[in-house]
Each structure stands twice: as structure tokens, then as C-alpha cells.
């Protein structure tokens, strides 16, 4: 068959000068990641001072819009902005006009009218940050969109690993658990791929998305495979997804027995990470979570400095990912 040409190449009207956003790891380069990690490290040192506030983003406005519950991400974004002296405002879907049925587009336009420099958004639906980016002038940071992306989580995870190992290149990371529903996994696979790490996904068959190997990782249903990894990255078992007789696994009990990360399944010295919130006794044994080899608390601290780095980077110089629309290719 003759070659089929690509349509929709010029689907969009001529784009205005690209605004810089941080929406997907797919949009950034290894250089972007290196720069952000280096910036985060600088901020970590600044936080060791007695007075932790920096004047860098004085007069800037950062709006956090959270359509899903969050502790770590929302608090760290708010604190990150405050540490950099930006003004902040936080909107939650409950108690806002969203309760009255306002569309995301209208909410975004409304908030855009305050001329925010950055809008940080978490939303249960894939593509919500792109929609906000289209209808406002703000830089948009994705704090999690559905099962798609959670790029600042990936960045803080890279930071944590690099601090622990001094390198990312060649590191072997086993990601264990509910990959299917995990935006954390998708961002992390891409981020580790960018930095030359090796990724193995370990999960029950129905929680391994078909075709995910194309992202450049290996997959297995054998929990024994985690033994070979430098880092065991445990995903949260999303109880809310396990309802309605979906039968991804027969029961959480069966899951915990077959895929739970227990002391017997990890080597001494093997680092263990978890994005939180944890279901102790399901995907992770409390003894593993509380062990000195667990980096879970380090991850939370890394969240603050990497999010400071993202805000700083967007509002100062370096080109963080710029694409709001992906280029379409038809093979």
C-alpha cells in the first residue's frame, strides 16, 4: 500500500508564541530535567537557612486549583510559592462554582481574569491542564490529570533517587502495583527513560495496561522480579477503582499476598519509595514503609524543593516543556 500522508498537520490555527507550561514529562527534555533538579538542589540549601523565604517571585500570583483531594501536592505547591514570596490563592472544587455546574473552561477564564502568572491544576480528567492552557494566559502546571500525568511527582522522585544514589543513569527501578490507574507511573516511566534508568513494571495482569511496553519498559507479573532492582517504587492500590466488581484482582487480600511489598521480598539496602497516600498492609507492609531504607519522607521534602524549582523555572528563564498540542503522526 502506498504511503498514507499525515492529516491534521495544520489542524490548529497558527499558534501564538508558545507559553511555557509543565504539563507532561513527554514535553520536556533531559536538559530540562537536569536544570530543574539542579535548581531544586539550590533551593534545598536555601531552606537550611534560618529564614527560609526567598524574594524571587515577589509580586507574582500562583493559583492552585484542585478538583481532587490532595494533601502532599496541594500543600507543597502552596508552600513552594510562599517560600518564593509569590502571592497564592487556592481553589477547591467543593464550595466553589464547580458545585453549581460551572464548566472547567468558564472556571479557567474566571481565574484567568485575575492575571495569574501560574495556574496549578489537579483534575480527574485527562487533558484538563491543556484546556486551561488554551483559554488563559497563565503558565500551567499539571498537578495530576486523571490517569495521564503527574509530572512534578516524577521530578521529585528523580530528585529523591539522585540524592540517594548520586546518579540516575543505569539505575534499575521496579514499579510495583496498579499501573493501569496510575498517572504517577506514566510520568515516572517517561522521566526515568529520559535520564537513562531502566524500568520494570510488576503488577497483576489486569493492572498492566496493554501496550505499555512501548513506553520503553519491561513488564512482568512476578513479584520476585523486584529483587533485581535498585529501587522498589510501590504504587498506591486505588481502593476507589477496585469497586463495582471490576475484578482487576479477586480481592485486596489476594493482592496483598501476591504483590504486597513485604520484608521477605526486599533485599537489605534496597531503597523503597511510595508516592503516598499509603495503604499499609495492602501494597506495602508497615515494616517496609517504616524501615530506614524507605525514602518516603525524603520524597515529601523533595516535593517542596522541586515544585519551587518548577515555579521558578517557568517564571524566569529556562524553557520547560512548551507544547500544549502534540504533533500528530500517522505511520
Amino acid at each position: 500500500m502506498a504511503e498514507i500522508r499525515v492529516m491534521r498537520e495544520d489542524l490548529r490555527p497558527p499558534a501564538p508564541p508558545p507559553k511555557r507550561h509543565f504539563i507532561s514529562i513527554k514535553d520536556v527534555t533531559r536538559e530540562d530535567v537536569e536544570r530543574l533538579l539542579a535548581t531544586a538542589r539550590t533551593f534545598e540549601r536555601s531552606l537550611e537557612r534560618e529564614v527560609k523565604k526567598l524574594p524571587t517571585l515577589k509580586g507574582r500570583l500562583v493559583i492552585n486549583v484542585f478538583y481532587e483531594s490532595s494533601t502532599r501536592t496541594s500543600s507543597s505547591f502552596e508552600l513552594a510559592a510562599k517560600r518564593l514570596s509569590a502571592d497564592t490563592m487556592s481553589i477547591k472544587s467543593s464550595g466553589s462554582s464547580v458545585d453549581k455546574g460551572e464548566s472547567l473552561k468558564d472556571t479557567a477564564i474566571t481565574l484567568g481574569a485575575y492575571d495569574p502568572d501560574v495556574i496549578v491544576i489537579r483534575h480527574p480528567q485527562i487533558g484538563a491542564p491543556q484546556l486551561v492552557a488554551r483559554v488563559t494566559e497563565a503558565h500551567v502546571v499539571n498537578a495530576g490529570d486523571g490517569k495521564h500525568q503527574h509530572p512534578t511527582q516524577a521530578l521529585l522522585d528523580l530528585y529523591t533517587m539522585r540524592e540517594a544514589f548520586g546518579r540516575l543513569e543505569g539505575l534499575h527501578v521496579a514499579i510495583v502495583g496498579d499501573v493501569l490507574h496510575s498517572r504517577v507511573a506514566r510520568s515516572l516511566i517517561q522521566a526515568l527513560g529520559l535520564t537513562g534508568a531502566q524500568v520494570t513494571l510488576v503488577a497483576p495482569p489486569a493492572l498492566l495496561p496493554r501496550g505499555i511496553e512501548a513506553m520503553g519498559c519491561e513488564t512482568t507479573i512476578d513479584i520476585g522480579a523486584i529483587a533485581a532492582a535498585d529501587v522498589v517504587y510501590v504504587l498506591r492500590m486505588q481502593r476507589e477503582r477496585m469497586q463495582e466488581a471490576a475484578n482487576y484482582v479477586p480481592s485486596l487480600r489476594e493482592y496483598a499476598a501476591r504483590w504486597g511489598v513485604t520484608p521477605e521480598r526486599v533485599r537489605p539496602g534496597q531503597k523503597v519509595m511510595h508516592p503516598g497516600p499509603m495503604n499499609r498492609g495492602v501494597e506495602i507492609d508497615p515494616r517496609v514503609a517504616d524501615h530506614a531504607d524507605a525514602l518516603i519522607e525524603t520524597q515529601v521534602r523533595a516535593g517542596l524543593v522541586t515544585r519551587m524549582a518548577v515555579l521558578y523555572d517557568l517564571l524566569t528563564s529556562g524553557p520547560v516543556g512548551v507544547k500544549t498540542e502534540s504533533v500528530l503522526e500517522v505511520a
Binding site: I4, I126, G127, P209
Partner: protein, 433 residues
């Protein structure tokens, strides 16, 4: 089975166009004279008889198109489309006949609802339109509609499009009773326990983007079931909007075994793959979803070799505000009546993948045969159902150009080649650019 607003038949001569009638094997520069809405003569330098003359020089004159699958959203969602706007869009797309699906609010499942639609069409349809009625009451998949009465009242066929007939037992009864009604049964093949909550084709792209997958097997499993039932009952059926390689294989085998099955494919499944969903543009969200490159290749091959004999737009208008949301929140469906020929000409004919004659046949005679409608032909004695096409015209598809009430087209702002200049349906000019 087709209905349109009142209009006088016309006297016309189309002069000097390249006349292409794939069924009749005609491809020559000819004049075509239409007397009182009927093709009266084909020849060179025909006397115009003081008829209105349409200059066809440099243009292609072909049998007008037939779209066996559109959604006119009437009754219930007249903000998205009406019979007037939908048939005007059809005329602009080169169509002399379209068939509207019954998944409206309320569902077209009674002679009364159908009768009201036919009455509206007779008053306001800009070009001929027929109506399918539902297979089951309220499309709930539990109770057959009164198919014989509906056929008598003017139903062009039967379909629960938008959802499958889930029960194999009821599907069998529908095929059996379809013989009494004497109309084709058209099936939306989807095993919903496999496609549940699916947003796009299940594969590498859905895995990366995080969308819940709608696997090919959700379609092909149902295709296989329905073909098996059709074989067992020795009844014909029509398969709506095939999207998967496995479905094409099943259809090919069944046809070779003598099953009387026809099938249709949409322009978007012939032109795009699931890679397009990376744009997160709700205008590439449809059911069935865009599939992998190998599926698309299989659909194109099936269209060429005649396994699939009909191109159907599955024109599905949606209100602007319902599509201006994140992908997952958007409804399934895209418009297509006004862009089908240009999209397919640009994508398949110009690059030399599909011959022009094949495309014209699959957009006209093929779909007409699937429902037992008269094939549009360019032959003496046939009603004038003609489309004048400018294959050289290159243009951008602009939102303002649509006659449809909705603009959820996957081709917005795309530059295409091939324009409809004039459409003649049932002997009268229904569109001229």
C-alpha cells in the same frame, strides 16, 4: 422510503464535464440533459433546449452520494441538528440521500414518532432523507419494535445504533422478524462488558495517555456473533462503522461462506489512527474509536476489494459546549456530511491509494444497495441524482462554512482538496457553491 420538501423537477444540461459512473463503466467527457428531473440524454454537443445550463468543464460529474448513517438529532436535540440543517449539510456534501438513525429523544420506535418525522421531512428537508427505526423499544434491548408496521409507515431499515442488541436470543428474533418487515437490519457491534468506560482504542497510545481502552475485540466479538446468527437464520444484515482488522477478517470469511452481509466504514476511520488522540482534541473522540495503523490499512484494503461496500459518515453533531471539555468528559461523535468527499479524496485518491471510481462507487451505489435504495446512476431514464466535483479546488475547512448546526469536525482548519460544486437530488438542484 426517502422524503423531501416540495420542489419542482428541473430541466438542465450539464455541459462538458468528465462523467464518471463507476457502475455503468462510464468515464468520458459528455453533456448530460435532464428533462423534468430525469436524465434524458447523454452525448456530445447536446442541444440545450433552452434548459438551464451548468458548465461542467474541468469538473467531474458523478452519481450523487448516499450516506446510510447520519444523526439528525431530531426530535430532542434540535439545538445540535434539525432535519432542515442536516439535509442542507447533506446537499452541500454532495448527497442525494441520507438515512437518519433512530437514537433520538424519544427513540424512533413507533409509527407515530416516525410519522411525525416524515411529515417534518416533507415540509422542510432540503434534500431526500430516510429514517431508520429502532430494533428494540427505546433501544433498551428487551422488546422488539413493531417492525412490520414501522416498515409500512416508511422506515428505511432498523437499527439500535449507539448500542448493541446485547442479547443473542433477541438478536436472533430481530433477524427472523426482519424478514417480515422486508427491511435491512443494521448493527452497532460492541460488547459493552469489554468496552465499558473505554475512551479510545486500547493499545500503546491509550497505555501511555492513561485512557481506559476500548479494545478491538469488543467490536469483533460482536461482529462474529451477529454474522453467526445471520448465517444460521439465512438473513441479511448490515454492519455499521467497522473499525477493526479482526472485524474485517470475520466479515470477509462470512461473505466467502455465503452470508449476506454488507458493511460500512467512516471517513475518519479511513483517514486517522489512534495517534490522533494524542492531541486530546474531543473532535477525534468517537465510537467505535480510531484504531491502530494496521486496522486503518485493513479498512482501506477492505474498501478496495469490496469486502466493505459502503462509506458512511456517522455524522454526529454535538453542541459546542459539550465538546469544549476535557476529552474524557466529551460525548462520542464527529460531524462528516460536509467533509467526507474532500477528506477521502485528499487522503486516499490523490496519493493513489484508492481509485476515484472506487471511492465514488462506495459513496453512492454501495450504500444504496446495502439498504435496497435505488442506486444513483448516470444513465438515460434514471432520476437525476448528480454531483459536480471540482477535484482541483484546495481550501481550508472553516467553522463558518458549515450548514450543519454543529461544528465538531475533526477536519477544522485542515486544508483539503476536492470540492462539491453542485448537487442534484431527485431531479432538482439542492446545492450550488
Amino acid at each position: 422510503m426517502l422524503f423531501a420538501g416540495p420542489a419542482a423537477k428541473e430541466n438542465l444540461v450539464v455541459r462538458g464535464a468528465r462523467v464518471v459512473d463507476p457502475v455503468g463503466g462510464v468515464d468520458a467527457v459528455l453533456d448530460v440533459r435532464v428533462d423534468d428531473g430525469v436524465i434524458a440524454a447523454l452525448g456530445t454537443e447536446l442541444d440545450t433546449n433552452s434548459h438551464r445550463v451548468l458548465e461542467g468543464e474541468g469538473l467531474v460529474l458523478a452519481p450523487a452520494f448516499v450516506d446510510p448513517h447520519v444523526h439528525l438529532r431530531t426530535p430532542g436535540r434540535e439545538d445540535e441538528e434539525t432535519i432542515a440543517s442536516g439535509t442542507a449539510a447533506a446537499a452541500a456534501g454532495g448527497y442525494c440521500a441520507i438515512l437518519a438513525m433512530p437514537n433520538t429523544e424519544p427513540v424512533v420506535d413507533s409509527a407515530a414518532t416516525l410519522g411525525a418525522l416524515i411529515e417534518t421531512a416533507r415540509a422542510e428537508a432540503e434534500s431526500p432523507v430516510g429514517f431508520l427505526a429502532a430494533i428494540t423499544k427505546e433501544q433498551r434491548g428487551t422488546e422488539l419494535t413493531e417492525m412490520a408496521e414501522l416498515a409500512e409507515a416508511g422506515a428505511a431499515g432498523f437499527s439500535d445504533d449507539g448500542m448493541p442488541v446485547a442479547s443473542p436470543g433477541l438478536m436472533r428474533r430481530a433477524l427472523q422478524y426482519g424478514a417480515v418487515a422486508g427491511r435491512r437490519i443494521a448493527l452497532h457491534c460492541e460488547e459493552t462488558t469489554l468496552s465499558r468506560e473505554g475512551q479510545m482504542h486500547e493499545g500503546a497510545v491509550s497505555a501511555e495517555l492513561g485512557f481506559t481502552g476500548y479494545p478491538s475485540v469488543a467490536e469483533s466479538l460482536m461482529v462474529e456473533r451477529d454474522l453467526a446468527l445471520a448465517a444460521y437464520e439465512r438473513q441479511p444484515l448490515h454492519l455499521l462503522h467497522l473499525s477493526a482488522w479482526e472485524s474485517v477478517q470475520a466479515l470477509r470469511r462470512a461473505r466467502a461462506d455465503g452470508v449476506s452481509a454488507t458493511a460500512e466504514v467512516t471517513p475518519h476511520h479511513l483517514c486517522l489512527t489512534d495517534e490522533a488522540v494524542r492531541s486530546l482534541d474531543p473532535n477525534v473522540k468517537m465510537n467505535p474509536p480510531l484504531r491502530a495503523a494496521s486496522d486503518r490499512t485493513a479498512l482501506v484494503e477492505a474498501l478496495k476489494d469490496g469486502t466493505i461496500t459502503a462509506i458512511a459518515t456517522d455524522h454526529a453533531p454535538h453542541a459546542r459546549h459539550e465538546k469544549e471539555v476535557p476529552f474524557e468528559a466529551a460525548p462520542f461523535g464527529v460531524t462528516g456530511l460536509e467533509t467526507a468527499f474532500a477528506a477521502l479524496y485528499t487522503q486516499l485518491v490523490e496519493p493513489g491509494i484508492v481509485p476515484l471510481g472506487t471511492l465514488l462507487e462506495r459513496m453512492s451505489a454501495g450504500p444504496a444497495q446495502a439498504y435496497g435504495l435505488d442506486e444513483p446512476r448516470i444513465a438515460v431514464g434514471k432520476p437525476a441524482n448528480l454531483v459536480l466535483l471540482d477535484l482541483k479546488a484546495s481550501y481550508r475547512i472553516a467553522e463558518e462554512s458549515f450548514r450543519s448546526r454543529s461544528v465538531n469536525s475533526w477536519l477544522l482548519d485542515q486544508t483539503v482538496k476536492g470540492a462539491v460544486r453542485t448537487t442534484i437530488a431527485a431531479g432538482r438542484v439542492v446545492f450550488s457553491a
